[in-house]
Symmetry: C2
Subunit: 356 residues, 2 copies
């Protein structure tokens, strides 16, 4: 019994070790869960209300075209419904768009040490991954564009994870202009709603070269539901119908998404609370001699100066039963990444950090 | 901008036209939804209870290994947890296992006119599909085994959809023995829990040649949640980690699944009600001169004698705002397929059927 050529050719690598698995290794549950960039400010209450209402008819399959939620999104974002598609989070969208564009041997470009699930999705198509290192601890747009000259797909998270960096719309535009017409940019905007003053890049659904990916997991606090969407040229959305899981997005997620988008107050509130928490968290690191990288997200990445110090910080926090992450690839491997918390959670973090 | 070689090579075919789309075409909503084999008897109340409890922590990602639900399933089915994996329904499992085993040009075998989502999943890998016709309006195991000699994957739904037929364990064993060791059987058991007296084939997780696929969409009435599982040789489950969506199964679905499996009363109750409803529904067809095929599922397929009569029956019921399906491939294209309903629904069907 042999597996497919692609599966036989790729290693068994899981994109993330689950916090539940870390808890097993440590032998006790975490006191603080600040490692998965989940929302400490809870879920959109309207989203939860929508989900709850959907529980009354779980025996039915949801509309595979998801017209209602796509309509609401289209209206909110001022894009045509034909340019929208839903899936189970950005993770599934990455997998789908990689399968849409990539054949074995095709080249894809990403930043070394950026979101590993993109690498995982690209590997699953048999593509060859070109990894461009961070420069000044942020994605290097010039080098990414250069590497993209012979690639079919280039991935950029903006704001980026795990660096936290945000490239302004003007820089992005220039970057996009430098990408060849045979290459598509998968622009992962999981953290875009956390921006406070910046204006994100305008949507351009006429362009076949940029696909925008967004999620309900972060600012909406609906990670457990699995819901994300893409905005792209309608041809891509139509082509995706050839391979996407037509009945894949649950009725519960669709119902939650509709109310969450229609009632945007939660987003505004969380954005403010997040910005304050980020400042508090940054100061906590500063007091411990760690340098917070600028962040436009719901986490702060601290430069510990060396990989050894970062590893010791990680270990100390895990032992104190605080779940955080440490980037594994240089140069960010000298950093630790901590998700923001509520004021209460940050107070507890302050107590648990350096308690040895 | 070109798509992947596989995507460029396959047609745009959607496995099913959604009932919502049919409603748009008809210009009014259905009065009866008896076309998607959804449970008329509602959802497992414990499942719903589990789902509701999960709404309290939607901001968190679920355990990507889903250890708790897999543990509960393993215990219930007496199979090792290492032989289980979850995904968003059998649809996603079909896609994943096709990608696990199939490279472009590989051969797969299925029954002409059986579950189209398998064909869709296989096409998505670039495989060549060999379609073996139904014989005596049921899957033809001998011819399937013969066609499987040069195939990597063979698909069988047992009980079958849309014929409703069930092959007993002994016949299945013989069939499996006839499949070459280089070929794997994807055994779709979406309807297996509706069996009343038969004993399903025993699980054999030592065998790499049989993968069992099951769902929470049918007897558990949790279609809207998207949850299914596979039982297979642990090597296959491990290999699937290379390509599966690790954070794909929602926390809501996992929580619902745990309670639904632990509280099995719903299944027993629905099984009984389903058998009665199937009998009632069959008689309603008989009174209209249609011959019900034997069914071990939650639907009845009626032989209308000719494709023309079947089409006219379909059209008449759609016009009466009753959602049903008609198989599109011969010989079953002379049949219509109607999902069972509650006694009230069947009474309404009786009124709406032949009202012109």
């Amino acid at each position: 019994m042999t597996y497919s050529k692609i599966v036989e050719s790729i290693p068994t690598v899981v994109p993330f070790i689950a916090p539940e698995e870390l808890e097993e290794r440590l032998g006790s549950p975490f006191l603080l869960r600040l490692g998965a960039n989940e929302s400490p400010f809870g879920s959109s209450s309207f989203g939860v209300k929508g989900a709850k209402a959907a529980l009354d008819s779980l025996q039915n399959y949801a509309d595979p075209r998801a017209l209602e939620l796509r309509g609401v999104l289209g209206k909110k974002l001022s894009v045509p419904i034909e340019s929208t598609v839903l899936a189970g989070g950005i993770d599934e969208l990455l997998s789908l768009f990689c399968r849409l564009f990539l054949s074995p041997g095709d080249h894809v470009v990403t930043t070394l040490g950026s979101y590993p699930t993109f690498d995982f999705a690209a590997m699953g198509t048999g593509a060859t991954i070109i990894k461009v290192p961070y420069k000044d601890l942020r994605p290097d747009l010039d080098s990414l564009a250069e590497a993209a000259q012979n690639a079919k797909v280039v991935y950029l998270a903006n704001p980026d994870n795990p660096s936290g960096w945000y490239h302004e719309a003007e820089a992005l535009k220039k970057f996009i202009e430098g990408i060849p017409s045979s290459c598509v940019l998968l622009l992962d905007e999981a953290y875009i709603e956390f921006l406070t003053t910046q204006v994100p890049l305008a949507f351009d659904c006429e362009s076949p070269n940029v696909i925008r990916l967004r999620t309900f997991s972060k600012i909406f606090g609906l990670a457990g539901l699995r819901l994300g969407y893409a905005v792209a040229h309608p041809d891509h959305i139509e082509a995706l119908d050839k391979i996407r899981l037509h009945f894949g997005v649950s009725s519960v997620a669709q119902a939650a998404g509709i109310l969450a988008v229609q009632h945007f107050g939660h987003t505004i509130l969380v954005r403010e609370r997040n910005a304050k928490a980020r400042e508090l968290l940054s100061q906590m690191g500063v007091r411990r001699g760690l340098a917070p990288l600028p962040s436009w997200t719901n986490f702060v990445t601290f430069d510990c100066g060396s990989k050894e110090v970062a590893e010791s910080q990680l270990e100390q926090l895990l032992q104190a039963r605080v779940f955080i992450r440490k980037p594994s690839q240089p140069p960010l491997d000298r950093c630790i990444r901590i998700t923001v918390g509520t004021p209460e959670e940050l107070e507890l973090l302050d107590q648990l950090w350096d308690t040895e």
